[in-house]
Amino acid sequence: MASRFARELTPGQKRVTPGSVVADLAILAWFVFSLFPLVWMVLLALKNDAQQTSTYFQFSPTLANFGTVLSQRGEDLTSVDFGHALLTSVLNCAGAVLVSLVVGIPAAYAAGRWKFRGSEDLMFQMLSFRFAPELMVIVPLFVIYNTLGIFDTKLGMVWVLQLVTMPLVVWILRSYFTDLAPELEQAALLDGYTRTRAFLTVALPLVRPGIAAAALLAFIFAWNNYLFPLILTDSAATTVTVAVTKYLGGGGQAYYNLTAAAALLGALPPLVLALTIQRYLVRGLSFGAVKA
């Protein structure tokens, strides 16, 4: 007779026991706690101005808040152009991911294929970017950006978001390249392929899922960053995360429903992307240290 542990590790039929009921209730309790705030945001975003301060669950829903948030221009309510911020976020993050892939893939391949002098130090240096407090570089960057004239520009944001996206891309892809059997490329070399051609036609296509996952996860991380756009942009290149917080201050008046609508719009792209790459998330979130 298999033990509970062995059974739990084996897919198949489960018996209902008092213990399993308690376990089900516990997991249900977590999901109530975990999902309630999101459900509440959806409800709040669907309420009109008169209903927004009520904490009841019955009301007549309206989509007007999303329209208001997306059509607001400078002088209205919160002085936030949210539609513009959404578009800027997309461009900033796409740019950062693109550059990260172009410089990150060769570096990840080098680090995954060869152990060379300083390779481990280089990798650790990148990992330390992941953990470094952002403010350490933000103040000098603010000065440098003003000198170079790239303060509040998308170019400036793309460059600084590298700090977020490149370590992620390099670390994740390194683990994919390490797992790839070197014999595959060696076979191609024996067939007369050049090293570059072997990489491009053999190695690269095989890690495509890894590249897609790393790119999307890097996009999410860049999207979610707050401190860099907060300090290094003003309005032209400002992002969703900065724009959302402006609704809390809303010109002395409270716009709970608009705040909720903005929060949802800002949270939706990463949520959708995350659900599409769920299979690869573990490896990505742990920088390739945990392979699932």
């Binding site: 399993s20 080098a110 280089l122 953990f131 407090p133 403010l135 709970y256 949520l271 979130l285």
Partner: protein, 285 residues
């Protein structure tokens, strides 16, 4: 030669950032502030001032408390959730995909969401929990606990999915063998599962602890460090010095000291992880 060449573009980008970093370190020996645009060299004066400041040590204490409490709670809850989801019952299967949702939202947006819910008059929490309109989640005594609660809401899924991935990669044979020997659930959990799971748990703990040391986004939105200085963490303290008060040198000194703490902790934890992974690999072979 080739591996060096392939890394050149990445290294160049890193150098760009390192330039800013060393610039920041340079600020720590100047008296650079908005009120003093032509700074001069002051040696270790900033370090003396920051290290002699009670607020710095208070912020360091707050940060450590936050990091230990949040990481501890998230680890215990995350492991529990992973064990529960691993039972793969209908409920678990239904919700597993939704587990990561809070984790994927920007922490600052999560802060906004909880700020709306925490509101004593119009927030939904006091209504649902029957606490009335006088219970203030972000009051002096409760603010730190409330920010930790939000951290737990965001990041427990991170620990849970890493540990769940670990559990699913475990070999079944040791469990079946010890089952034949009549071992109890608790014995198997303690003697088999935990040791084999240790590298996975350690990765989660390292990532959470390091990120907590530099926590900013959600806490800043929820409390901006207040009321008073009750939730002023090191990065929030540095933000106030360099951005709010425009004292760049002092803020940079704050950050550089935090960076040193983070760097040493990271080096140490990564070496511990390396050993744990080698031991686990050896045990598995």
């Amino acid at each position: 030669m080739r591996p060096y060449l392939l890394s050149v573009p990445a290294v160049l980008l890193i150098i760009g950032i390192l330039y800013a970093f060393f610039y920041g370190v340079y600020y720590t020996v100047l008296n650079y502030a908005a009120t003093n645009p032509s700074p001069s060299f002051v040696g270790i004066d900033n370090y003396r001032s920051v290290l002699g400041d009670a607020l710095f040590w208070r912020s360091a204490g707050t940060t450590l408390l936050y990091a230990v409490a949040a990481t501890g709670l998230e680890t215990v809850l995350g492991v529990a959730i992973a064990l529960l989801l691993n039972r793969s019952t209908l409920i678990g299967k239904t919700f597993e995909r939704l587990l990561i949702l809070p984790l994927m939202i920007a922490p600052v947006i999560a802060g906004v969401i909880w700020k709306l819910m925490f509101n004593p008059q119009f927030g939904v929490l006091n209504h649902v929990l029957g606490l009335g309109s006088t219970f203030d989640w972000l009051s002096k005594d409760r603010a730190l606990a409330s920010t930790i609660l939000v951290d737990v809401w965001i990041y427990t899924p991170f620990v849970a999915i890493l540990v769940l991935a670990g559990i699913r990669s475990l070999p079944r044979e040791p469990f079946e063998a010890s089952d034949v020997d009549g071992a109890s659930w608790f014995y198997m959990f303690r003697r088999l599962m935990l040791p084999m799971m240790w590298p996975y748990i350690l990765v989660a703990v390292i990532f959470r602890f390091m990120d907590c040391l530099k926590v900013f986004d959600a806490v800043y939105v929820l409390t901006a460090g207040g009321p008073g200085v009750t939730t002023t963490t090191l990065q929030i303290g540095a933000f106030e010095d360099s951005i709010t008060n425009l004292n760049y040198s002092r803020g940079s000194t704050y950050m550089f000291l935090l960076w040193i703490i983070v760097f040493i902790t990271a080096r140490y934890l990564v070496s511990v992880l390396g050993k744990a992974q080698r031991r686990a690999a050896g045990a598995g072979a």
